[in-house]
């Protein structure tokens, strides 16, 4: 941490600063829905922002990759077609992101930059600023520590905030982050050694929360990458999947999609829509042949993409940020920690 990258702001000044940011861009923050569920959604005032909350079930992924994402507008006049790419140039500041979710967005950024960059994604991500709120009290289902995705982040954020008793500790992680402080310089001051020490202590305490719990990605990865997971094990686990696709749709790092034209007024919009490799029809071919016919084949696919060395090498990370959402949404019982453990132990009991 360079000294000028560590700042702090009085907690009572936060609303003013955030209100200032709200005049420059749309502010997206965790809010409390009318029925007890937490949502990341646009806020018009800092008062709506939650500071202590259980992470939302829907990750903030959808602000970069909506479930239905318009790509190209298509009009026709008299049989001649006109195409117009859809650009999302809205400026958005995502605040109070959980570490795991921010890490998920970094992963998505990488896969959309890798090989052929995807301009429609990257244009969005350029226009988003990511401000995380470090997890001083890790959430119960999470295992971010096993994925190097939390509870605190070391890099990747534009700003990372840590709640101290009366002040907010703010780390600057990028130029984009620094620009968020413009116009509010008077509210911030360099962090004192005492504040830095407190922040370190909070991180240490948060890490201690996990005790010795680990998800053992390493040994699972060795087996998956070399095909040393018994077919029978996949088959046994496949029996406990109800093919809802929830695990992938809800995952902060999953990005499979399909492309479909939607009728609008006198033309169409070509949309990218979330899809899931857990659906049988995902690989179904026009001939009726399906290279992944069984639940076990699709489950194998999911874990190969998420925890194989081949993908680790390509993406620089496992495709899991330890948020624990797949534990919550799974219609069956085959969530990430359960399957990783089964692979490591070579046995599955449902």
């Amino acid at each position: 941490m360079r000294p000028d990258d560590a700042l702090s702001i009085a907690r009572e000044d936060l609303p003013e600063w955030l209100a200032l940011l709200g005049t420059r861009a749309q502010m997206i923050a965790p809010t409390s829905g009318p029925h007890g569920d937490v949502f990341y959604s646009p806020v018009s005032s800092p008062d709506e922002i939650l500071w202590e909350f259980e992470n939302s079930l829907q990750p903030p992924k959808r602000f970069l990759l909506p479930q239905t994402d318009p790509l190209v507008k298509i009009h026709s006049d008299g049989g001649r077609f006109h195409l117009e790419p859809v650009c999302d140039d809205r400026r958005q500041i995502l605040v109070n992101l959980r570490s795991c979710d921010l890490k998920g967005l970094l992963y998505l950024e990488r896969v959309h930059t890798y090989d052929l960059p995807d301009p429609s994604y990257l244009r969005r991500s350029e226009n988003r600023s990511l401000v995380s709120l470090a997890c001083t009290e890790p959430c119960p289902p999470g295992f971010c520590i096993c994925c190097d995705a939390g509870p605190f982040l070391r890099h990747g954020f534009d700003l990372q905030m840590t709640m101290l008793s009366d002040r907010m500790f703010v780390e600057v992680g990028s130029d984009k982050g620094r620009s968020l402080l413009e116009g509010a310089e008077s509210m911030f001051r360099p962090a004192t050694p005492d504040e830095i020490a407190k922040r370190e202590a909070l991180e240490a305490a948060a890490r201690d929360h996990f005790k010795t719990e680990t998800c053992h990605f390493g040994s699972a990865m060795r087996r998956i990458s070399t095909g040393r997971v018994a077919e029978e094990l996949w088959e046994a686990m496949g029996d406990w999947c109800l093919e809802c696709g929830g695990c992938t749709l809800i995952c902060p790092t999953c990005y499979c999609f399909s492309v479909k034209d939607r009728r609008v007024d006198e033309g169409w919009v070509r949309c990218r829509t979330w899809d899931s490799c857990q659906y049988a029809a995902f690989t179904l071919e026009a001939s009726g042949h399906n290279p992944r016919p069984g639940r076990k084949d699709r489950m194998k696919r999911r874990f190969f993409h998420k925890v194989s060395a081949q993908y680790y090498q390509r993406d620089g990370d496992v495709g899991c940020v330890g948020c624990g959402r797949c534990i919550k949404v799974c219609m069956g019982t085959t969530n990430m920690p359960a399957v990783v453990e089964a692979i490591r132990k070579g046995e599955w009991h449902g």
């Binding site: 009318p34 007890g36 909506p66 939607r262 029809a281």
Partner: protein
């Protein structure tokens, strides 16, 4: 709804589990779905369909303007003209002394169904009112309520997840009722013994302790087995005696390898001994009398063994669609009034008089199948009825012969294409109202986006149609209609005002859901005795001497794939589109070993012969089909018509060609 974005809590429009989800809109366009983590049924979990709950509304072929048929062609028109035209067509039919029917729908809200019933019994003064998926559910309910009057459904799913033994009658519950499948899976994970009973091994069978091949027929034998076990299990023999008196005690033919008596005994004994146990009954067959008899047998087992009285034990019949139960409770049935009240219930009638502001026809009407051959005019609410009829083709023919077909739907279904007047209404994502889940949970559905074009909420259209037919009372909103429902159906009122009522709905459990005594007579007179027929078929199937060594069974009573909500969803329709392209003539499934013996390969055509006729049809091989059995998916019932002749089973011979 102005620009911006919103997440609107509503209920999944597909099956009857009643999962809670948020529909999301950005700038008044639907974009997606988020599960509701705090919803008591789904707790953050949705099945494939729930995750695509926004798709049909967004991608489907929508009706956006009122359409009136002129010279065979639908022409768009304004609401006033369309409604007046509809009313004129209907009054002409009434004037000529012919009858009109009304169909409510398991895809519509309680409010819409209630108003459809008002339209029938109030405005048109007819008892011909029904809904498509009622029959199979009603059969299960009637069976259950005959011996288990107080079947407590309210927390059935939660309780099921904690049962020690589960008897599951299913087709493929992982597909038809995934949230129920999840509850059962959880129970199995906790060590429960699952017994699956159905015509074919399913995904759930793979987790089961026992799988019992179960096909229509044999119900008397099953009932007798249940009775004898229950008798031993309880010192109070009354329930068992009652059952023995009602159903002939027979024993399974020793030669049948289909339902093994010993296995059935093991299953039932485990059930009896469990400290909490569940029976979950899906409408696995279109054979309503059989469903009813088998449900009766299960209910008596539950009552006789005293499982039913134990806290946490479950006896749960499953309706097909999100609001099949609500439609029935709103009175979309020929034999009862809203609230499942008898037609002769004076108190119920006077309550309806109060809220409808008109006298009502309290006569018994025709059910959907009979209606189609009798009535000259039909009003269809949010459904494509032929998909659920005994014969889809005959259903379409009947619809096309009507003098007047008025369809209220959000989607351009084949039925809407045939209509004389098509009235565009909001889809499930665009409508306020309530629906009632299989557990009796009355939940609000909320509009997330406005209906497209000229489309209007269903309650508004039904009101206007009633007004055009001379009903004076109208409603300002869906809530307004709900208030009438609360007056007409006291159980709903007490549910809403109960302390347990939450934003996620409240539980309205009707006291002893009304069976349909008349239907029993009518049905069993009309149908062949299903048990005798089946046992005969089983015997021939095993003996193999009579020349019809296979038992052909039609499975299921409803299939999602042709339903507008699935067919118009790009994600959900893929499998099906591919299936109907690859198998345009349908297929039957048979056991792989049997096929080997006959030299039939996967996908080959075979000649199937019964005493009623023959067809040539592709055969698909499947390990999970029992030997000597062949299965016909419900969707292909028409293709097998020459062999089945509208029955659900036939003993058949199969030849390679």
């Amino acid at each position: 709804m102005e620009a911006g974005e919103a997440n609107v809590l509503t209920v999944c429009p597909f099956c009857a589990c009643g999962c809670g989800l948020y529909l999301q809109q950005v700038d008044a366009v639907l974009t997606g779905v988020t599960p509701s983590e705090h919803h008591p049924v789904s707790r953050g979990r949705l099945c494939t369909r729930g995750w695509a709950a926004h798709e049909a509304s967004l991608w489907g072929h929508r009706l956006t303007r009122p359409l009136v048929r002129h010279g065979g062609i639908h022409e768009p028109t304004d609401w006033h003209t369309a409604l007046r035209h509809a009313a004129n067509l209907l009054t002409d039919i009434l004037a000529s002394g012919s009858s009109i029917g009304v169909l409510g729908s398991g895809r519509a809200t309680n409010e819409e169904n209630f108003l459809a019933v008002r339209l029938a019994r109030g405005a048109l003064r007819t008892g011909h009112v029904d809904s498509c998926t009622r029959a199979s559910y009603q059969a299960l309910l009637a069976g259950v309520s005959e011996s288990a009057s107080a079947c407590n459904l309210d927390s059935a799913l939660k309780d099921t997840a904690h049962c020690e033994v589960i008897l599951l009658l299913e087709g493929d519950i992982a597909d038809t009722h995934p949230q129920a499948a999840h509850a059962i899976m959880k129970a199995v994970q906790r060590g429960a013994r699952l017994v699956t009973m159905g015509p074919v091994k399913t995904r759930m069978s793979r987790l089961a302790w026992l799988h019992l091949p179960f096909v229509p027929g044999g119900e008397s034998a099953v009932a007798a087995k249940f009775a004898s076990v229950a008798e031993r299990a309880t010192s109070d023999n009354r329930a068992a005696d009652g059952m023995a008196a009602n159903l002939p005690v027979g024993s399974l033919p020793a030669s049948t390898h289909l339902i093994s008596s010993a296995q059935l005994q093991r299953a039932v004994e485990a059930y009896t001994r469990a400290s909490r146990a569940a029976i979950v009954l899906a409408p696995t067959s279109a054979a309503a009398p059989w469903l009813r008899a088998i449900a009766t047998a299960f209910a008596r087992l539950a009552a006789g063994t005293r499982q039913l009285q134990r806290p946490g034990s479950v006896l749960l019949p499953l309706p097909c669609r999100s609001n099949t139960r609500g439609a029935l409770e709103m009175g979309a049935a020929p034999h009862c009034l809203p609230g499942c009240r008898a037609l002769t219930d004076d108190a119920a009638r006077s309550r309806l008089l109060r809220v409808w502001g008109s006298e009502l026809a309290a006569e018994r009407g025709l059910d959907i199948e009979a209606m189609l051959s009798e009535v000259r005019g039909l009003i269809v609410l949010a459904d494509d009825p032929p998909l659920a009829l005994t014969s889809e083709e005959a259903g379409r023919r009947a619809l096309s012969k009507l003098e007047c077909l008025i369809v209220l739907d959000a989607f351009a279904t084949p039925t809407a294409e045939l209509s004389h007047v098509a009235l565009p209404i909001g889809s499930s994502a665009e409508t306020d109202g309530t629906v009632t889940s299989m557990e009796g949970r009355i939940q609000e559905v909320r509009a997330c986006t406005p209906p497209p074009g000229e489309a209007r909420p269903g309650w508004w259209v039904l009101n206007e149609l009633a007004a055009a037919l001379g009903m004076s009372k109208t409603h300002e909103s869906a809530q307004d209609v709900f208030h009438d429902i609360l007056v007409a159906v006291p159980e709903y009122a007490s549910a809403v005002s109960s302390e347990e009522s939450t934003p996620h709905g409240c539980l309205g459990v009707l006291p002893g859901i009304l069976g349909d005594p008349q239907a029993k007579v009518a049905e069993s007179a009309g149908a062949r005795d299903s048990s005798r027929e089946a046992l005969a078929a089983l015997r021939t199937a095993v003996d193999g001497t009579v020349g019809f060594p296979f038992l052909l069974v039609q499975v299921g009573s409803f299939e999602w794939e042709d339903d507008a909500l699935v067919a118009f969803s790009p994600t959900l329709s893929r499998d099906h589109r591919s299936r109907s392209r690859l198998w345009p003539d349908g297929y039957v499934q048979m056991n792989t070993g049997d096929a080997d013996r006959l030299g039939i390969r996967d996908g080959w055509r075979a000649r199937i012969t019964s005493d009623r006729g023959e067809v040539v049809i592709p055969v698909r091989l499947c390990e999970d089909v029992e030997p000597a059995m062949m299965l016909v998916p419900f969707a292909f019932r028409d293709q097998l018509e020459p062999v089945l002749k509208c029955e659900v089973m036939a003993a058949v011979n199969v030849e390679r060609i």
